[in-house]
Symmetry: C2
Subunit: 149 residues, 2 copies
């Protein structure tokens, strides 16, 4: 992903203004790179420094970043959108217990619907999601009351 400064440039080029809120959100995205944060966890990271920032502002800025192509919005069925700062095409591992998401960088170009099943379907993208349990949840004793999402 781009640095905070570069993202500011992109926003300026788009006619969007640079505000303290946005700078802090850019910075939080930078610090949480690789963790596939939710809007809420980014809000939590920013609200310490800007106690009056609203969750709506975080959503708004994330949507703007998605719109200009500097961020990807993932729906991995964990209950809320995850935002991904890794822009090159890749796939994901999702922990069914804690909802943690990990990147899988591998070439699955050979994965295509077999002839006959999609003849009248224009495939634009392929998503591969591996589900299971991450190391932390695997080693932790069974907790039937955990909050998966």
């Amino acid at each position: 992903m781009k640095s905070v400064g570069e993202l500011c440039e992109v926003f300026r080029a788009e006619g969007l203004r640079i505000t303290p809120q946005r700078q802090h959100i850019f910075s939080a995205l930078d610090q949480l790179h690789g963790t596939h944060p939710t809007a809420d966890s980014l809000y939590a990271a920013v609200v310490d420094e800007l106690p009056t920032i609203s969750l709506k502002t975080v959503y708004q800025t994330l949507n703007d970043l998605v719109r200009v192509g500097e961020l990807t919005q993932l729906d991995l069925a964990t209950g809320s959108f995850r935002f991904d700062t890794t822009l090159d095409p890749h796939h994901h591992l999702v922990c069914d217990d804690c909802g943690a998401v990990f990147d899988v960088h591998a070439d699955f170009d050979a994965v295509r619907p077999p002839v006959g099943s999609a003849d009248q379907f224009a495939v634009a993208s392929t998503e591969i999601t591996f589900r299971g349990r991450c190391n932390d949840c695997e080693t932790r004793p069974q907790d039937p009351h955990n909050n998966p999402k």
Copy 2:
């Protein structure tokens, strides 16, 4: 999927009662087999015959069917759960425009996370989702005001 009668047997065996509501829901699932209906579209199919049935009852019965393993609940990021009466493992094509879902029966057992990316992750399942435009949406002239979800 099982017939309406067989589903009744399963419910009875589980100690669940057979009600007109449940029979109609079973029947609607049978008729909509292969269409990956939402709870709401099943409700719409049943409410004609049982005008006082509540959406909650549909959800409740679908959840019961999922719990006893006679139905699969899919989250394909179309805005609401889809219910799948095809129980053998398979994958999906999802139309980004209209949300239609099609089954892909193919053996993708070779698709596994590469060594290194999931060494500390116990993979339990693999989901492959192809996204694009279905035949109807592809041939239909562009409609910017369609309701994807």
